[in-house]
């Protein structure tokens, strides 16, 4: 072997080029800014005279966490297509549909509770299968496709309910479950945390979750490292729809009634949570725990505003501003990070 051009393998110390690094403190601050902000908002409403009476009570916190659990769940659902670079606007409508079907199956058809929960979730899964088919096989724009799907679903549920709110005939077991507590917190909060933990495991410790990030980064490259791009994107729509279906039945358990709706009151705060989440923990990227923190931030702020006497429109205004600020901030952080 006359390998004269022996590879100049430098010692490890030399191969490490010192880059401009953000100091540790600054990085912690950046990663946890949203957590800190959430804590500050919490403290503010605790001591703000107009809300200090009602806000920091155990009851109110339970209401906040319980009502926002559904939104957090939809936010986690939305993560799956978003990480792979696709929007799913039908998740709110899918959840609303599952809620109505679950109530309707018990009230109108007299189904046992387990079937009335499982079947709507499976139907939600079928919606995901359709969304995925349209996007990956027919190459339809995901944004418009899922928007159309949302409209279709809200129309169908309206037809199913005939515009009536389903309130009687719902098995009391499900509403009992919805108000159940464990260690002082609503049980649904633990369900959301469990779903979040599983989602985190999926995104960080399974080839499937990791491949979604790769697809979101560069689908062509992902294809050439053996990722089944179409199949995985398709599954991301299915998983998202199944979780949204679960969120819908949870919403029924919390509210005890169901009305046909487009589900936007669920979807938009959820999207705000997801995009706020992309500013925390791993800034610039969608991630599960950031999403959970984002959901808590949105719910605490909205509740605090409501209790300080702000009118009903305040929560919409807040969610809108939060969504815009979150998208702007996460885009900025992402771009800065990409620039290196």
């Amino acid at each position: 072997m006359t390998d004269t051009a022996a590879p100049p393998v430098p010692p490890a110390t030399e191969s490490i080029v010192t880059l401009k690094r953000t100091p540790l403190i600054a990085r912690i601050f950046e990663n946890y800014a949203l957590v800190i902000l959430t804590a500050l908002v919490f403290l503010f409403f605790t001591f703000y005279p107009a809300s200090s009476a009602a806000f920091p009570t155990i009851n109110n916190l339970n209401v906040i966490l319980g009502s926002q659990a559904v939104i957090a769940m939809i936010a986690i659902a939305a993560l799956f297509p978003l990480v792979s670079g696709h929007f799913d606007f039908s998740l709110g409508a899918t959840a609303a549909m599952a809620q109505v079907l679950c109530a309707g199956f018990m009230a109108n058809s007299g189904w046992p509770i387990w079937a009335a929960i499982v079947v709507p979730i499976l139907i939600a899964g079928v919606v995901g299968v359709l969304n995925g088919f349209f996007v990956t096989r027919l190459h339809m724009n995901p944004f418009v496709t899922t928007l159309g799907m949302a409209m279709l679903l809200s129309g169908v549920t309206l037809w199913y309910t005939g515009g009536q709110t389903i309130i009687s005939g719902i098995d009391p077991a499900i509403t009992r479950f919805g108000s159940m507590r464990f260690m002082g917190l609503p049980l649904v909060v633990y369900i959301v945390l469990a779903v979040a933990a599983v989602a985190w495991y999926f995104f960080t410790h399974t080839p499937y979750g990791r491949s979604l990030y790769a697809i979101g980064s560069n689908a062509a490259s992902a294809r050439l490292v053996g990722v089944r791009v179409d199949r995985n994107v398709w599954w991301s729509f299915i998983v998202a729809a199944l979780i949204a279906g679960g969120a819908g039945t949870m919403q029924l358990a919390r509210m005890g009634s169901a009305t046909a709706s487009a589900g936007n009151e669920l979807l938009f705060p959820a999207l705000a949570a997801v995009f706020l989440g992309a500013t925390a923990i791993t800034p610039g990227f969608f991630n599960v725990w950031g999403t959970v923190v984002g959901a808590i931030f949105v719910s605490i702020s909205v509740s605090g505003l409501t209790l300080s006497g702000a009118s009903g429109w305040a929560s919409n205004v807040f969610n809108g501003i939060a969504l815009l600020a979150a998208v702007g901030l996460s885009t900025y952080l992402g771009r800065r990070k990409r620039r290196g």
Binding site: T4, I16, H205, S217, S221, L224, V225, R338
Partner: protein
């Protein structure tokens, strides 16, 4: 080997008669000099061919003329008018009368011909501001007739035959001005055209010149250039290697000017092939995309080169081997067993890796970390533990960074933070960590600096020594010459030649690739294989 350099004194007096006169242009990128006192003198009403191999500087010269790059020094005179090269932009180029038609024609394929014209020159309007379609149609029809295009202006561009599309782009570029005061620059106009389409196009270009149009044509295909050009300027290593005025050179003469005294290869091989002679990959009569009946064998530990021009099917061949395309016909075996990958992960499981040609578009995850860029090819393997701890991947990444001499802040640095050479090392490391049996490399050192290039060559040799079969496709002949034990020449989808390392010099190899096969017969001889295996 300057055949007929323009006499220095003549240029100043002849300037008035020249359509374009570019003199003494220097341009450097970082430490590399792309152009050194380069010049180009174009006579009006002629077709002028600008020739040169990869890295000869001809593209840089064109980009300076187009105002894409700014020259470091030099003078430019167009139709007797001096232009400062400092602060020279694409707007000045257009005002001076230069019109460019690139290989990518820049046409709106789905729109009609008339709209393609109007989007460039503006729509004729009526008093209300609406488009006067009738006027536009008459106007465009007139231009099309001038350029011998017998097509309806309302037809969408994608309906046209390929050579007519190029003509539409040319007509659009030249519309609405005195064409005698314009210089048309055609950058690789025939690269994506089939032979008969090229001929149709070149015939029309020649007739344009007969009518007084000045044309500069850049092309790799020498036979075509010879059929159409009056004058020739050949670039080599950023200098003018030859300027032939009103000449009728032969293909061989041009090739010798282009290839002559090419810089020495980084290191010639030949004596130290690592091949064991056991066939690893056998490809039998494979047709796929542009490939026609490709048959060859690659052996264990062998570095096999695939030489060919753009569009010869180099990349298609590698992608077919990698399961990204399914062949229409033919069979393959890998390590003795049938190999018919139906997807990329099939091929990966069989022990194949591909470093694609376009790093940014097909290999990089720019906004992800180096660690993630490395581990993405190992997901299935890591998953065996049902747990993918970041620490393990970080350790593995640190190990690979050191082993392949990647200069980077650490495993968590973003892929985009590295230089091109280091990015390419990471992409190669991504595959070598899998210990592939067959490694496919498409232009492995494109956009890579010289030092990284040497590292990459050493890495490739080491993996061949370890028994990996390497197939390298490249348009850089000195690279193939330096790296490969054996080189197959691919031309328009067919293997036309087989060359053993040491049999040919780099310039001979260059001429083999540049020379279009006059007859389409396959010169591949299976007996030649036996010689390789025993050497």
């Amino acid at each position: 080997m300057d055949t007929q350099e323009q006499p220095k004194g003549a240029t100043s007096t002849a300037t008035a008669e020249l359509a374009l006169d570019l003199r003494g242009v220097d341009k450097h990128f970082g430490g590399t000099k792309a152009l050194r006192a380069a010049s180009l003198a174009v006579r009006p009403g002629t077709v002028h061919a600008l020739l040169g191999g990869n890295g000869s500087g001809k593209s840089t010269a064109i980009k300076i003329l187009a105002g894409v790059y700014e020259a470091d020094a030099g003078e430019l005179t167009i139709f007797g008018e001096n232009h400062l090269l400092l602060g020279y932009t694409s707007t000045t180029a257009a005002a001076a009368g230069l019109r460019f038609v690139h290989q990518d024609l820049g046409l709106f394929e789905d729109l009609s011909i008339e709209e393609n014209f109007a989007l460039d020159a503006g729509y004729p309007r009526n008093v209300l501001g609406g488009v006067r379609w009738g006027a536009l149609r008459r106007q465009v029809a007139k231009v099309l007739a001038e350029y011998e295009l017998d097509v309806d202006p309302r037809r969408p561009v994608h309906d046209l035959r390929p050579s007519d599309r190029t003509m539409v782009a040319i007509a659009r570029a030249l519309q609405g001005a005195d064409t005698e005061r314009l210089i048309l620059v055609l950058d690789e106009p025939t690269a994506s055209l089939a032979a008969h389409e090229s001929n149709l196009l070149l015939e029309k270009v020649r007739r344009l010149a007969d009518r007084g149009q000045t044309v500069i044509i850049v092309s790799h295909r020498l036979q075509e250039v010879l059929s159409v050009a009056h004058d020739f300027t050949v670039f080599r290593d950023g200098r003018v290697a030859g300027a032939l005025v009103d000449a009728q050179p032969t293909e061989d003469e041009l090739i010798s000017i282009m290839a002559g005294g090419l810089v020495v290869a980084l290191r010639p091989t030949g004596s130290q092939s690592h091949t064991t002679g056991r066939p690893m990959l056998e490809v039998n009569g494979v047709s796929s995309g542009p490939l026609r009946n490709v048959t060859f064998t690659a052996h264990e530990g062998e570095i096999l080169g695939i030489a060919g021009l753009v569009g010869s099917g180099r990349s298609s061949l590698l992608q077919t081997l990698f399961g990204a395309f399914e062949p229409v016909s033919g069979t393959m075996t890998l390590g003795g067993s049938p190999f018919a990958p139906r997807s990329v992960d099939d091929a990966m499981r069989a022990g194949v890796g591909l470093v694609p040609e376009n790093r940014v578009r097909e290999a990089a995850f720019m906004d992800r970390s180096v660690r993630e860029n490395l581990s993405i090819a190992m997901l299935a393997e890591y998953w065996s533990a049902k747990w993918m701890p970041r620490a393990r991947e970080t350790r593995k990444a640190e190990d690979l960074i050191q082993r392949f001499g990647v200069k980077v802040g650490g495993p968590s640095a973003l892929f985009s933070s590295m230089s091109g050479g280091n990015q390419q090392k990471v992409v190669i490391a991504r595959w070598l960590q899998r210990d592939p049996r067959l490694l496919l490399l498409d232009e492995p050192t494109q956009g890579v600096d010289v030092m990284s290039r040497a590292d990459i060559y050493a890495t490739i040799r080491r993996s061949a020594q370890a028994g990996c079969t390497v197939v390298v496709a490249s348009s850089d002949m000195s690279e193939l010459h330096a790296l490969c034990d054996r080189i197959l020449v691919l031309a328009r989808g067919r293997i036309t030649q087989e060359v053993l390392a040491g049999d040919l010099k780099v310039d001979e190899l260059t001429s083999l690739v540049l020379r279009e096969p006059s007859t389409r017969k396959t010169i591949y001889e299976p007996t030649a294989l036996e010689e390789t295996t025993t050497s």
